[in-house]
Symmetry: C2
Subunit: 763 residues, 2 copies
């Protein structure tokens, strides 16, 4: 397609607002006489609460309310940011109270204070007396399912949230008949999103009794629903406003602080109360990425054909279910349309432990799976003495592949081209030969890893999105979408789509970036890399509807049929004659002010996307390993993506930079550490938690193979999460190439690398 | 019709918000680092500006900008709050600059200051040096059209804005042939709206270059357009937000302060600037009611049949055109479908003078006309020795009358019934006999007056209105309308209409009371008593669309046709069987979450109302006149209205109370006084301007004759302005009855009454 605005590197619409500090985040919204909410956190990782005495706290001047579980509705609710399901069996696990009546992780809130200021609130917390019955703690998922392990939720005495799995083909047959069977174990760590903006919200009750919540969320419409459920209020009584967001990465695809914020406001007769987490609180009381332990048994023919794979996965879900088994199932699903296995069996267990609850995080279980799978494949290739690229190429599925489980169709398959491009970028063939034979302290290697990912959640969950367009008198438009800009640039992409359809420049599309659930079209939110694909369809539909209305006005004016007209560069044209009929502004003005036909042009549409598009990509990385210190330095790294049509190359590159940076931390340094006895989080701050900084980050290369996908409104597929999936295994495989040592556990930080090298006799 | 919610006295939706002080008005909105704008006002009523030196003011610390006319676009614009017309000949007079380059009234702004606070701004104003060439002033409209009068606008050297009039029939013939011709002159005064909330606005420029204006206005969409015109900006670059409004009465149906507020913000690089008028400024620099001088020549048959009326009207429009001749034409149009004249000739002149500009005010010229006409009719009845009621009854038009000029049809005509009801309420027949013969100091009398009024402006101007409804998961809805709640209660009326159509209780309709031109459906605004009638049609249309969508969902679920279903009390019912099919909530939930059919239910509609409905009413008043002091006390007063179906009796009664109270001031005490030499307003404050207080206000009686009108979506017609039309002449006629003295000039304040009584020999 020959697009004019789609496919160009339009700067972010919010660029100026953000760099000048004028973009308003949740903390920048003010209400008169805002009160401050704070919570008291448990000093134990697992405990029964025997009693709480709040009397002294309540008596402190400036304290407006002190609340404990007893003061709140005893309605258990689920916090995962999924669209509601009409089928009860398809809903998330409801295992949470607004404030708990039993402590399940270290730092869990046991009481809350609302006070006139932060200092008073902090002082009041110290006056609350809690009597605990301390219980034994379990932090490892394997331990949690052992006989006699502490029971975290009485409803699930085996600590297993779910062990539902899936499979295709006959895995026993493949494993039994195969020339070779490779077995291995892979372990990933608990990490955190570390979005720049902490969770922050405030709530108040309107005089008509309706609750308003302003919050930093990816999912305003879901927040509305879950707050309603948690408080036992009709959902329509709740209004959620989403301002600019300083990153979420899935941690704001969960309803973490809003029910408590709303409850705080209700405890003071609906006065405005702000509840904002500190960084230290975010680490322990929001969500983390699931740590997983994979066990692979893989059937391979001696000529290197993958036949079957049997995957066991023990998933550490922490203290509450949150997205729990959805993430586990995503890990077991999204890798399928990549390699042509005859049989796949996936047997996971999602397990409660006494660590912070695991939830959604960029990639949604898939980075864990691909770290394991792509590491495993490199080990197999090495055993078979095959080039890792050649081995994978041999086993790729083909275009038009239908995923047997989801029935999703591979309509576009640019992965082979991505691999080709990646090889060229890193100079693969030469470096594979050159490196891999070092014996000194400094050793170099190159590695790669592939991935597949979906665009949205279809057919697992509802994929509804809405868009509304209002045309102004000058032909410019407002675009209202329920989908949320959370830093990823979606507003800009949607504006490009709108401008493209309407034949207007981008600066004539005014995106309403603040979502207000009262009036913003319904959309399930920013997650699952769904927005460009799913919401993009709604945006196109809304824009086409507006275009058609414009052309109908123009047709009435000209006596032509709408089909004979088009909008090009803000003009109504008759393409047959190459003639300009009138300006778009003329039509817009008539739509408002024509005495006979006045009907201002708007569209208020929604789509129910019953389709998916599989996106692909590959990472090629070159590392330099300092053997004596265990330090791995990434010298070059390239992500090459098949995400269909790229709506905005500059923003797409930005996604790659962010996603790869996040993956570098995942690969090399990040992990949350917990005390085994108490469950205490040991490094819940940005000093001790080793997030990658710009100093740790190499130049990140990106490239795109643009095969338009028939299911995308402009041929687009997902990109956002995709970028963070394959770097970790590519780095791991480069280290394998450099040193011959196979790391099967993340992160590959110097301590662990050093220990492993010692174990392997390198030092 | 048998309505459940329409027609009931639902309390105002904003009642609690307003009485608890939580309703947010323009002044309650805050921006960080808001600057303050103030203007320097001319001490002369008419002057050329020879020079302005702003250097000292600019040098004052804390002054961010000083602007004069020279710093601003030299684009003349019109301020009247009318929808734009595509026909140039139908547009308002463009005679205004944002800051003038010539002074035309006392107190006109000649420069503006933007400073960090009010005190600094006030100090800066004193440092601006202006050199004036003082010109002679003319404040009276008759003087302004005399030879040699000062020329106020060079474009119109005769000071006449327009002398366009109209007529039906052959007035010369009727006057020539009639048995009797009655002639008289009537004069009304300049008065002010005195809405509680002064004009207040603030503006800032978004980082993307778009202007946002938060303002106390009746007409947000029109503010947007006019600010765009005044500043030469594309209209789509401007966003106007209308919060709660503390009254407007037409004074906020004019774009008074917004262009300057926007210009102030532009002068400081788009930083937020608040410009709020004091009460003293509102009196001189917003709008006033047109003072009019009527000259009547009326042909009457000796048996009391009205045959023809020849009306001349000299209208004092003040220094700028504003609504100017529209008000004049309204005065000459809306009385027509009342009495069955064979011929009417209306010859007005709308005239510039050096007083504050006259604009829209409740009744829009019609209270002036009816004061004159109904006084005149009482004089005629008296001359003919006929009962004023009988005389009018004899001359009323009949139902199905077609106004020859507007072609508006009288579809419902409850006036005879109103008159009957009013007579009973005041005990007319008995009191007419009992009073009117007093000779002492205290004399009593009863009087009455009728009126006719339109519902909106059709066919004069565009009547477009929009409504959008969003249904929530619980079956409750948000209603978004471009029409503005300005205190009159329209939000509540619209909520009732929505609830009525959707079969839900009123508390399930959440009206979005704040208009935001970016997303709020287009509506021309609150004026011309149009909203219940015009916007009410849009609201019904939107609600019916939502209802139909609900029933389509329910039909799919049940296998029935939508026509076989209905919504009653939040349930989907099958009326034939008297059976409940499911709850409305069930359908609402499915509309969101059905995996196959998800399509959240909304409607985004507009109407172009090409119709009008004529409303009627009558006032009956009893007065007690203290002859020696000239004090008139209204003892009883009843307004009886034919406004079709009354949507909310309590709110309707409130409209009557407010409108009659305003009319009492108009009749008895209010007038703005100007110095003849300088044009200075002498009483621009609420101490010296004699607004009626609650102590001056008698119990006001109201009654309604509900004849549903076929053109109203629920049979409703206008009411808001109607209430203020007929009290003044009714009181005047009661005074005539009590004393035999005919007052032909307003107000009838003690000074004037005393003088007249002396002149007539009563004292």
């Amino acid at each position: 397609m020959d697009y004019k605005v789609v496919g160009t590197s339009v700067p972010r619409l919010d660029a100026v607002a953000k760099v000048t500090g004028r973009a308003k985040y949740a903390d920048d919204y003010l209400e008169r006489d805002m009160l401050i909410g704070k919570v008291l956190r448990s000093p134990y990782g697992h405990a029964n609460i025997k009693s709480i005495d709040t009397s002294e706290a309540k008596a402190l001047e400036g304290v407006e309310a002190v609340i404990t579980s007893k003061d709140l509705p005893q309605i258990k609710f689920a916090t995962a940011g999924h669209p509601w399901s009409l089928e009860p069996g398809h809903r998330d696990v409801e295992d949470r109270l607004i404030i708990t009546d039993k402590v399940r992780f270290w730092g869990e809130p046991v009481a809350a204070v609302v006070a006139v200021d932060e200092i008073t609130a902090e002082r009041a917390l110290k006056l609350i007396k809690v009597e605990y019955e301390v219980l034994p703690v379990v932090i490892d998922q394997s331990d949690a399912i052992k006989e006699g392990a502490p029971i975290i939720h009485s409803e699930r005495p085996d600590n297993i949230i779910s062990s539902f799995g899936n499979g295709v083909g006959d895995i026993e047959k493949e494993l039994g008949q195969a020339d070779l069977v490779f077995s291995n174990e892979f372990i990933t760590s608990t990490v955190q999103h570390c979005h720049i903006e902490n969770h922050s919200a405030y709530a108040y009750v309107e005089p008509d009794g309706r609750m308003t919540i302003v919050t930093s969320t990816q999912i305003p419409h879901i927040v509305r629903r879950i707050v309603g459920q948690a408080l036992g209020m009709p959902w329509g009584q709740i209004k959620v406003i989403k301002p600019y967001i300083g990153g979420g990465f899935g941690n704001k695809q969960d309803v973490v602080i809003e029910p408590l914020t709303a409850a705080m406001s209700l405890s003071v007769d609906g006065r405005p109360v702000r509840y904002a987490l500190t960084r230290e609180e975010v680490f322990i009381d929001t969500r983390v990425r699931h740590a997983m332990k994979f066990n692979f048994n893989t059937a391979v023919s001696k000529d290197g054909k993958l036949l079957g794979i049997d995957i066991k996965n023990l998933v550490n879900n922490g203290a509450y279910a949150s997205h729990g088994h959805s993430v586990t199932m995503s890990a077991g699903s999204k890798f399928r349309p990549l390699y042509d296995f005859k049989a796949i069996k996936y047997s996971p267990k999602t397990i409660y432990t006494n660590i912070p609850a695991a939830g959604a995080m960029r990639g949604y279980g898939v980075p864990q799976m691909f770290f394991a799978l792509e590491s495993h494949l490199d080990d197999i290739a090495k055993s078979l003495n095959m080039d890792p690229v050649g081995f994978r190429m041999k086993n790729l599925i083909k275009q038009d592949y239908v995923d047997p489980s989801s029935k999703n169709v591979v309509r576009s398959f640019g992965l082979p081209e991505c691999i080709k491009k990646g090889k060229e970028l890193i100079n693969w063939d030469e470096k594979r030969k050159l490196y891999g034979h070092d014996t000194g302290n400094i050793r170099r290697g190159v590695g790669m890893a592939c991935f597949s990912y979906f665009s949205g959640t279809y057919p697992v969950a509802l994929e509804a999105a809405g868009a509304r367009i209002v045309m102004n008198q000058d032909g410019s438009v407002q675009l209202q979408i329920g989908a949320t800009e959370i830093g990823q640039g979606s507003d800009t992409a949607f504006a490009q789509m709108t401008a493209e359809v309407l034949g207007i420049p981008i600066n004539m599309v005014h995106v309403i970036s603040v979502q207000d659930t009262d009036v913003t079209p319904f959309d399930t939110g920013a997650y699952a890399s769904r927005q460009t694909f799913v919401t993009g369809a709604a945006v196109k539909k809304a824009a086409v509807e507006v275009k058609n209305k414009v052309l109908e006005f123009a047709a009435r004016k000209t006596g032509l049929e709408p089909e004979e007209l088009n909008i090009v560069d803000c003009k109504i044209v008759e393409p047959r004659r190459g003639a300009v009929v009138c300006s778009l502004e003329d039509i817009a003005m008539e739509s408002y002010y024509d005495r006979m036909y006045s009907c201002p042009i708007t569209s208020d549409t929604s789509v129910n996307m019953r389709n998916n598009a599989i996106a692909y990509g590959v990472t090629f990385a070159e590392v330099e390993v300092d053997v004596p210190t265990g330090k791995i330095e990434v010298k070059e790294i390239y992500n090459v993506h098949d995400s269909g049509t790229i709506i905005n190359p500059m923003l797409a590159e930005g996604q790659v930079h962010g996603g790869v940076s996040m993956a570098l931390g995942y690969a090399l340094s990040e992990q949350m550490l917990f005390d085994e006895k108490t469950g205490k989080t040991l490094n819940n701050n940005l000093l001790d938690y080793k997030l990658q900084t710009i100093m740790d980050t190499p130049a990140i290369g990106s490239a795109f193979v643009e095969v338009p996908d028939g299911a995308g409104s402009f041929g687009q597929k997902s990109l956002g999460e995709n970028t963070t999936i394959s770097p970790a295994p590519a780095i791991r495989n480069a280290v394998l190439h450099a040193t011959g040592v196979a790391f099967n556990r993340l992160p590959m930080n110097p301590q662990r690398v050093f220990e492993k090298f010692k174990e392997e006799g390198l030092i």
